[in-house]
């Protein structure tokens, strides 16, 4: 398995500024070898989730280390995974397992402004754009993939597209993601997505 493909995307918003926190998930449209999900951690630093936007493969366990002096009460009422870790400091002893694909919105009962996102996906191929709007995903093998992008403040549901990645080929693209203050689907519009 020496063949590798890579998808590079540069994300900009409607003002042509680099956009961070855009998730990219590439779902193979062919049979692929399952991989072990990788566990990760979502820290709380300065009363904010860090990173704010995360993608994990279903089955991964996430710990929530509190780096602040104050305590936090992290919760999720999302259908994908409901949990809450009552007031704690330091790292809670048990990580949380995310088995269902979907979106988990994290909140803190103490701090209204704290909001974090965990996208749980079946695919092992995913990434999140950095502050420069750059996003890179290494793929195990070429083939057809379903490419889906998401951003917590996206103005509208982003299109999912099918792409074909050939051997030794790289997929480079620039994508514009329009953002709004806070995504809130209007009544009547298809709520879709991860809600």
């Amino acid at each position: 398995m020496t063949v590798s493909a890579q998808v590079s995307i540069q994300v900009r918003d409607q003002t042509d500024s680099p956009l961070a926190d855009v998730t990219l998930v590439l779902t193979p449209l062919f049979e692929f070898e399952a991989q072990e999900p990788i566990d990760t951690a979502v820290d709380q630093i300065n009363e904010a989730f860090a990173p704010r936007v995360n993608v994990v493969q279903a089955g991964a366990a996430i710990s929530f280390p509190n780096q602040d002096q104050v305590r936090h009460h992290v919760y999720s009422f999302s259908a994908t995974k409901q949990f809450d870790i009552p007031l704690y400091s330091g790292t809670p002893s048990e990580p949380i397992h995310f088995d269902q694909p979907g979106l988990v919105v994290l909140g803190c009962n103490i701090h209204d402004q704290m909001r974090g996102y965990i996208l749980v996906t079946d695919s092992p191929f995913f990434g999140v754009s950095d502050d420069n709007g750059n996003l890179e995903v290494r793929l195990g093998q070429p083939g057809n993939y379903l490419l889906s992008l998401w951003h917590p403040e996206q103005e509208e549901q982003l299109e999912t597209i099918e792409i074909e990645i050939g051997p030794d080929l790289e997929y480079n693209s620039t994508v514009q993601v329009n953002t709004a203050k806070l995504f809130l689907p209007r009544r009547g519009s298809s709520s879709g997505g991860y809600f």
Binding site: F77, G107, D112, G188
Partner: protein
């Protein structure tokens, strides 16, 4: 001039002017007051509007302050996710019970598709019929996904707030509301003292709450459509017979309904203090008018009284009473006028004076036979000599009148011995003319002239108009003097004097000339001739003879008189007066007159 009407005119003028001023003042004050009343009502309405708005805002803010934490409350979130409606509704009622100072009684929980999840409302509200979509639409436009606005219900309009349920992303809406009802408008009125109404249009106009009475309320509803067409901020309207100023403010409500708050300022109430002021003004104006009329009358009288007194004074002077004086106590112009009048009257006092009248004889013939320059030169020489002689005797030339000179002795300054000095002047003038009438060494034919002298009382002083005052003399003695002068020609004597002169001029000898009644006069006077020094007739014997002749003549003893006169003629020559006596004697004897009284009446001047 009628002084009564003069006072009345001044009083009328002052009162009239004052009335005009007062009417103008009253008009202006009234207009200003009415404007002020309107302005103050309008200002009250602005305050009421502000009060109403801030009451609405503070209640709205109060609602948000309670609802916002609830939408972020963990227990509430848990309950919402749990989805047990009775528990949710109980939680919502619990939330309402926390809102102490806002009488909120509507709470609705909707999902993002505005499907009802739970609600707590009064019975008259059908929750599913409330048009909440425009509120959530509005919320989308705001930063916080919050909004507030008014929806109408059958009872009262409701102020609803919309807040998103954040878990932590929006999962639904919570809407909480309170009624804008009687209690609300009453609260507004308590603060501002202005009547407030809430009008709703949902097909037709109705008043949901008001502080107006029912009649005014229906009156307001009737006029509402017209008022809404009026662009002005405040509109005058008649609410059940009471003048009001109404201001309308549309409240932010859903598009299927119009909600207005009306603020009604009672103009009568606003005008009441001004009407009190007006009543006071009536009193002040009336009093002022009365006082000023009285004052003007008094002032006019204070002017007309001295003027009347002055008029009386002038009249009395004209009728010869020079003793009258006016009171001149004030220091104003009238006082000065009175003082001047008194001084003039003082100067006009009757005095004992001697008047000398000298007139050139045959002046008309002289003018005919000589060139005017010659006549003028002669006259001027004559007058200058005459004035010299007169002034030598302390006489004063009163005036020149053509070919005549009038001189006064004893006025303006009394020197004493006036009669002697007048006679001396007359005789000196006679002598002077005889001796020195020569020009360039050539003896000129002397001017013939006659002199009359009379003593008596006369008014002397400054006379004439204000602009031209002349010191002069008026009196019977002046007239007599003039007559005497003109008689000199008749008697062919140079100088004639009246009896008063004879009685005083003790330095001279006089000869009785005649007892006459001058033309146009009833008074009988004796006239005399002063004898010049060296006159033959001045001897005691001849004077005694003359006296005897005159007495017999006066007694109509014609025979003796005639004898004596003839003897005098033989002594003194045929003097004209003796010939006159003889003619009269003959005449009287021929006519056999019984009525002889010795008086000769002159029929010519």
């Amino acid at each position: 001039m009628n002084f009564r009407s003069f006072s009345a005119r001044i009083a009328l003028l002052v009162s009239g002017l004052l009335t005009v001023t007062l009417i103008c003042t009253f008009f202006l004050v009234n207009r200003e007051n009415t404007n002020n009343a309107f302005l103050s009502v309008a200002a009250d309405q602005a305050t009421t509007e502000e009060t109403f708005t801030s009451l609405l805002e503070s209640r709205t803010t109060g609602l948000f302050d309670v609802v916002r934490p609830a939408t972020r409350d963990h227990a509430f979130r848990t309950t919402f996710i749990d989805g047990h409606v009775p528990t949710l509704e109980s939680a919502m009622r619990n939330l309402l019970s926390r809102i102490r100072y806002v009488p909120a009684d509507v709470i609705l929980l909707k999902d993002l598709n505005l499907e009802s999840i739970a609600e707590t409302t009064p019975d008259f509200i059908q929750p599913e019929q409330l048009p909440v979509e425009w509120l959530t639409d509005k919320a989308f436009e705001s930063d916080e996904y919050e909004s507030s606005g008014i929806i109408s219900t059958v009872e009262a309009p409701y102020q609803l707030i919309t807040s998103p349920l954040l878990i932590p992303d929006p999962q639904g809406w919570i809407l909480v509301g309170f009624p804008i009802d009687d209690q609300f408008v009453q609260s507004t009125k308590e603060i501002t003292q202005t009547d407030v109404s809430i009008a709703i249009y949902d097909g037709s106009w109705r008043i949901s709450s008001t502080t107006l009475n029912p009649n005014q309320q229906s009156s307001f509803v009737d006029q509402l459509p017209t008022m809404l067409e009026d662009d002005r901020l405040s509109i005058q309207s008649d609410l059940d017979g009471v003048p009001y100023l109404s201001r309308l403010r549309r409240l932010d409500s859903s598009s299927d309904t119009q909600v207005y708050v009306g603020m009604h300022g009672n103009l009568n109430q606003a005008l009441a203090p001004y009407q009190r002021l007006n009543r006071s003004l009536y009193l002040i104006f009336g009093g002022g008018l009365l006082l000023s009329a009285l004052g003007a009358l008094t002032l006019a009288r204070s002017v007309s009284a001295p003027v009347k007194a002055l008029t009386r004074g002038v009249q009395s002077i004209r009728s010869g009473d020079l003793s009258l004086r006016v009171k001149a106590t004030s220091s104003d112009e009238l006082g000065q006028l009175g003082g001047a009048f008194n001084e003039m009257a003082e100067g006009l006092e009757e005095k004992e004076i001697t008047v000398l009248f000298c007139d050139v004889r045959n002046f008309t013939q002289l003018c005919e036979s000589h060139a005017p320059q010659v006549v003028l030169a002669k006259l001027n020489r004559f007058f200058s000599r005459a004035s010299n002689v007169i002034e030598d005797q302390n006489g004063v030339i009163d005036k020149y009148m053509g070919d005549a000179v009038m001189a006064l002795f004893g006025a303006p300054v009394k020197h004493g011995n006036e009669e002697n000095r007048a006679v001396a002047a007359a005789l000196a003038l006679r002598a002077d003319i005889k001796n020195t009438d020569r020009v360039n060494g050539v003896i000129e034919e002397p001017l013939e002239f006659g002199i009359g002298i009379a003593s008596g009382t006369a008014v002397v002083g400054n006379m004439g108009s204000e602009n031209r005052l002349n010191y002069s003399v008026i009196g019977d003695s002046v007239n007599t003097c003039a007559r005497l002068e003109s008689l000199t020609k008749y008697y062919q004597l140079p100088v004639l004097v009246n009896e008063a002169v004879v009685l005083k001029a003790d330095q001279f000898t006089f000869r009785w000339v005649d007892r006459i009644r001058a033309k146009g006069k009833s008074q009988v006077i004796d006239i005399f001739q002063p004898l010049e020094a060296g006159d033959q007739g001045a001897s005691d014997t001849l004077l005694a003879m003359h006296l005897e002749a005159v007495q017999t003549y006066l007694n109509a003893d014609w025979h003796v008189a005639e004898g004596l006169i003839n003897r005098l003629i033989s002594e003194l020559g045929a003097l004209h007066i003796y010939q006159l006596y003889l003619e009269r004697i003959h005449h009287c004897r021929d006519q056999n007159l019984d009525s002889w009284d010795g008086v000769y009446t002159h029929t010519k001047k």
